[in-house]
């Protein structure tokens, strides 16, 4: 799977309350959640994002609550993947479970600038910065995670397991 888009840069410790403020959690409608993604940092964020764009952030991305609404909002805002120096644990799990590709890669997170054109190979973890002609490598996803993703998420896995 090739993911390609413009980079949107964020700092360290981007928490789930800014990804999707709790005042909108009285719904699970993906479109409505997406329309409020990141609005407390940048009111215009979802209007400026083009389909396929990539979030590039610092340490501990997605810290805070366990709300799955956070990766849902990001994914449905048109973001194809998130690259960060590190991810908060529950956000990491939630993203995999619902099919938002995420890559832990300090090198890429530090070197990519706002607006750079980025191409990611989801299988190998290779991240190309087309604007700067650089490339970085994220740790490949462990086999069990690849299996969950190849099945289309955790629920498909559960469906197959519960038939056994």
């Amino acid at each position: 799977m090739q993911l390609k888009g413009k980079a949107w840069k964020f700092n360290d410790n981007i928490d789930t309350d800014v990804i999707i403020p709790a005042r909108y959690l009285n719904t699970s409608d993906p479109k409505e959640l997406a329309s409020h993604c990141m609005e407390d940092i940048d009111k215009e964020f979802t209007k400026k994002v083009s389909h396929g764009d990539i979030i590039v952030a610092g340490k501990n991305f997605g810290c805070g609550s366990s709300r799955e609404h956070a990766p849902i909002a990001i994914k449905n805002a048109g973001i194809s993947c998130v690259i960060a120096e590190s991810f908060a644990r529950i956000f990491y799990r939630n993203s995999i479970n619902m099919g938002l590709p995420i890559f832990e890669c300090p090198g890429a997170a530090q070197k990519i600038s706002q607006g750079n054109e980025i191409e990611v190979n989801a299988e190998t973890g290779e991240i190309k910065n087309l604007s700067r002609n650089e490339s970085y490598r994220a740790a490949p996803m462990p086999p069990f995670i690849q299996r969950i993703i190849s099945l289309g998420g955790l629920m498909e896995y559960v469906k197959q397991e519960s038939k056994k």
Binding site: V18, S28, S66
Partner: protein, 420 residues
């Protein structure tokens, strides 16, 4: 091989003799639950996958607590979905508004969480039950759906960090201050993916309520779990809430830790975490004089009986500063009732506080105490992120209940000992 308490619990639940950090295991769950924000997505996923039955109708808990009593039609729709699912599945542990409280105060009060258990909840503060010596961690809604169906989940065995606290606590210092100070020391990602194990003479001296507050905030350092090995105090507590047997695990001497950090607890002052991260904790003396518009006392961190008593002791016979609103939310219906019986409710109401039914409410900017642009609050809750309690340009300072109560009277942040 020597094992930590966390490793022993994970090994016992995955059919392994022992496990080591980094190992991927599939483990049996003793208890799983969700709330009015997370359960609806789990139920949708459960249905979409064509699943028909939960793995055990006594081990799946549904607790509406975040936006309840239903704050609007959308919330009412979400809680209705929970109620209908509970009926359809015959869940014995669905709890209606007015018969429960904030999940992480209610679940241990009801004796549903016990030492030695492996617990997952679709809420990040599920780490609270580590105070009982269980391994307990927050997950998302899809994980909850999987746990509800299979009664098991995959885990990566975390490394453990050992935090040791020795020394006698100063007046007005509680478990909340120990954990705020610890998060300040290691940062909001200082324990990322790790189990935070707390021990030492100070921990032995802490009440169970204070221990719950500590483990509750392990997530604010990125921790997968906070855990305290059971002692006589734990077992006495468990006996008072449950007749069921439980299993006590303790770390072996020589167990491996990725890091060991020691604190001289006698030097820790009451803490205040400045906006907008829990790691911005400082001694209250450095926050002294900051004017506030609101104080919030409650939440899964500090909505327990000890917290209510501490706040009441400070507020007794006093009035709030005229420019401050104070919202007090007891953690459960039982605590609410005990506040009435002990005369605490009257102290709060006479002081000019809003004292009402349990809910997470203002902690996450849901309802029952939202901040306007430019307003500042002192709060016993767990997060002070941008916009957490309302307007993105409002600010939250985190503290223990004594500091919050004293500040509400003074109109500005003060050390409780300075309250006249």
């Amino acid at each position: 091989m020597s094992q930590t308490i966390s490793e022993k619990i994970l090994a016992a639940h995955s059919g392994n003799k022992e496990v080591s950090p980094g190992q991927l295991i599939e483990a049996k769950i003793d208890l799983c639950f969700g709330n009015d924000i997370t359960a609806p997505i789990a139920i949708e996923n459960f249905r979409k996958a064509g699943l028909s039955k939960v793995f055990d109708r006594e081990r799946v808990l549904l607790i509406p607590d975040h936006f309840t009593p239903n704050k609007d039609i959308k919330t009412a729709t979400q809680t209705k979905m929970m109620r209908e699912f509970a009926q359809e599945q015959g869940l014995s542990n669905y709890f209606e508004v007015g018969r429960c409280g904030i999940e992480h105060v209610f679940i241990h009060e009801q004796g549903l969480a016990l030492p030695g258990m492996l617990i997952v909840g679709a809420d990040s503060h599920t780490c609270t039950y580590g105070a009982l010596g269980s391994f307990s961690t927050g997950v998302g809604s899809t994980d909850l759906a999987a746990a509800m169906a299979l009664g098991r989940l995959w885990f990566k065995v975390p490394e453990s960090m050992l935090f040791t606290y020795n020394g006698k606590l100063q007046a007005f210092v509680s478990g909340k201050d120990l954990i705020l100070c610890t998060i300040g020391e290691i940062g909001v990602d200082g324990a990322l993916y790790k189990a935070m194990e707390f021990q030492g003479s100070t921990i032995k001296g802490l009440s169970m309520d204070s221990r719950f507050s500590m483990c509750n905030m392990a997530i604010e350092a990125g921790g997968k779990a906070g855990i305290i090995a059971p002692d006589a105090k734990t077992l006495a507590y468990v006996k008072s809430v449950s007749k069921n047997p439980c299993k006590v695990y303790k770390s072996d001497k020589g167990a491996q830790y990725s890091e060991k950090i020691d604190f001289d607890a006698s030097r820790i002052e009451p803490q205040v975490a400045f906006p907008s991260l829990p790691e911005n904790s400082k001694p209250v003396s450095e926050a002294s004089g900051i004017e506030i518009n609101q104080a919030v006392i409650g939440s899964c961190t500090n909505g327990r009986m000890e917290d209510m008593r501490i706040a009441a002791k400070i507020m007794k016979g006093k009035k709030l500063n005229p420019s401050v609103r104070c919202v007090i939310l007891p953690g459960t219906q039982k605590i609410y009732l005990d506040c009435i019986k002990e005369g605490i409710a009257e102290i709060f109401v006479r002081a000019g506080c809003s004292f009402s039914t349990p809910t997470c409410g203002p902690c996450l900017g849901g309802h029952m105490g939202i901040l306007a642009e430019g307003e500042k609050a002192i709060s016993t809750t767990n997060r002070n992120f941008v916009g957490r309690m309302g307007h993105p340009k409002s600010e939250v300072y985190l503290s223990n209940p004594a500091v919050a109560a004293a500040s509400a009277i003074a109109g500005k942040i003060v050390h409780p000992k300075e309250l006249k």
